[in-house]
Symmetry: C2
Subunit: 395 residues, 2 copies
């Protein structure tokens, strides 16, 4: 168990910055990500191995006072759980001894602002009806009033933390969905290396990495079209993307690489050598054909030359769950695609519109769920924002 | 990726023995458990963090020749995958670079012996209809012709290996169910320590640990009532056990400990100090009441004094999946309880009969799935048993 000292560390601006470089983590169980800070943890934090995203609705009759109580309770619980400390009301101190880089990140859906009577504080971009023409959205993965993104390197701690948050909020919220995902286990590979998804594709090469890039792409500031209380926050979009491995695997490697626009082994743009080499869309092969297909996933996901700000943080996890009974599908797999940005109107939406319209990968992927949330700013235990969304709800 | 040397290591008797003591594993990705040996890996092997158990049925029209082809193909695939080598026909060498203690263990259900016309070689204990009075078995977790127990410390490698085995066998078998489970991640805690389940209970304290104990409880030999071809094999029972955390959590700690018969913190028998202390069923407290309730889980799971051989290997994994849509249950959790033994008539069945009839834990747990398999002996790439069940099928 962590000593008391870990709890007493002051919250600092770097609280949620990426962790130190390391090829593998030998004591992952005792690692705790600071909870308080300018931003919430779980966004800029290097993704832990396991993900539970909970979509929750406020119960009928819950109003502003209850919402304050809920977010205050949850903040206290998350602050303790992430530091390996037993939250109030828990009879199971043994279950929190291995925080394992646990993060718990809270976001608000559009209807939350109606319920707490703060319509004027709702960001203009927060919509309920994000749907593209090729989407096959299922209501069971749809919009909710609240979201908790819970990440942890240990699946047992993750299960306990998820359950504790649900139990703690049970008088105020009802769970609508739980989306579970995974990346490589701790100690398997360098946690800073780009993870592979189940298509074998390195997924997240162009993600922001520096503080500046996060400030430019992810964290809301005074320059952005958002209410002042949301400065330091972000916008999360959760898309569930089914990946048809059965038909994908009928392709040869070259066809797979053409659809993606990158090589499978190194992740380099086609025609280049290394993962982080710049793509050259004009480069042609010996027959005069472009290396990179204009309808490849990479080409369409990249910002157009006149809109260099169309970038965002991909924080996607794989899912692989049992196929429906009697199905002849070999697997039921895909991505819980969480992405973070300042303003979806300038980032996810135009990017996804291009992908929806032209991406070669659409033959093998289907968006089946969509929800959008305002990720509230970070908290300070003794400061102006003692609990999630305090400055929204106290105002 | 592993070098060629790892592949060339001779299969030795210790192949599947528990791994060296270590508190945490810094290079878990490159760890490979030897595939060939007297026994299959994945039984005596320290459980890896993640589990996929696949229940599969032979397709209509598949006969002995096809079954041989299937098991031969699967053995080759498993032999390569577990050593971090790309199996034949896979276009994704990048996906097998981190074997992460992968094991793939094969078992045969009762109907398999009918299909290959080897009824006389079916062990007498291999039944299809294991049901106790309190069971609420669902057909979707029922008996199948074949089972693959796939364990791995890395969930990405696990997903790839599971998928490859399914694809490789697709002409011969259809997946009936997939049961997924987890333990602590590598690096979180000592992998030799007894894991906790989601009741917070240390689960598996009395498991066999020494070679002698495995020989006495798990591995079939000439003394047991089983056909000769099965020597070196075992019997696997897979029970799906739902655990009602919502009502369990209404208990105070003392009531939980009474139901279990052990303390929650150390796992010691009530009235004792350490996890591995002998339980004293006659010991009474200051009021003359026994420390250990005769209907506690521990008391009923322990071998009666006149039947000291009623022991087995518990190799249980936690599951925690989304509740059904609209359910007011906070969680849908429990155990994928895999247990190994020489002869279920002398081990699992009498133990479970006692638990079914009297276990206090029955108020919070429900058995919802049951299946039984003959775990075939280990293989030798260049020996008499080049593939799973060769001596059964070649005879």
């Amino acid at each position: 168990m962590l000593g008391g000292a870990a709890m007493l560390q002051p919250a600092v601006a770097l609280a949620n910055a990426p962790q130190p470089e390391s090829g593998a983590d030998c004591e992952v169980g005792s690692k705790a990500v600071p909870f308080d800070g300018k931003h919430q943890a779980g966004v800029q934090t290097v993704p832990a191995a396991h993900l539970n995203v909970l979509g929750l609705n406020l119960r009928a009759g819950v109003g502003k006072k209850d919402a304050k109580r809920l977010l205050s309770l949850w903040t206290e619980d998350a602050r303790r759980l992430t530091q390996g400390q037993n939250p109030l009301g828990s009879l199971e101190p043994e279950m929190v001894q291995h925080p394992s880089n646990l993060t718990i990140t809270c976001g608000l859906g559009s209807r939350f602002f109606d319920i707490v009577d703060k319509q004027d504080q709702r960001p203009a971009w927060l919509k309920e009806d994000l749907q593209f023409s090729k989407d096959q959205l299922k209501p069971e993965w749809g919009q909710t009033d609240l979201v908790l993104q819970i990440c942890c390197d240990d699946p047992v701690m993750l299960a306990f933390a998820t359950r504790h948050m649900l139990r703690s909020g049970v008088d105020y919220v009802q769970q609508q969905w739980l989306q579970q995902g995974f990346l490589n286990a701790p100690g398997v590979k360098d946690p800073k290396a780009t993870p592979r998804n189940l298509f074998g594709q390195k997924d997240g090469t162009v993600n922001p990495r520096s503080e500046d890039e996060f400030d430019q792409q992810v964290w809301i500031d005074g320059e952005d079209d958002a209410p002042a209380w949301l400065e330091g926050g972000s916008c999360l979009i959760v898309r569930r993307i089914a990946m048809n491995l059965d038909t994908w695997e009928q392709l040869d490697r070259e066809s797979r690489e053409i659809a993606i626009g990158r090589t499978l082994d190194s992740g380099a743009p086609l025609g280049q050598k290394d993962e982080f080499d710049q793509a050259d869309y004009d480069k042609t092969d010996e027959y005069g054909l472009p290396y990179i297909d204009a309808r490849s996933h990479m080409a369409l996901a990249s910002p157009p030359s006149d809109k260099p700000k169309e970038k965002l943080l991909r924080r996607a996890y794989n899912y692989d769950v049992p196929p429906n009974t009697g199905s002849e599908q070999l697997s039921n797999a895909g991505l819980v695609f969480c992405c973070y940005q300042k303003d979806p109107r300038k980032q996810f939406i135009p990017i996804q519109q291009r992908l929806n319209d032209g991406d070669r990968l659409n033959e093998w992927i289907t968006h089946t769920g969509s929800a959008m949330y305002a990720i509230v700013p970070g908290t300070q235990e003794q400061g102006d924002e003692p609990y999630w969304a305090a400055s929204l709800l106290e105002g």
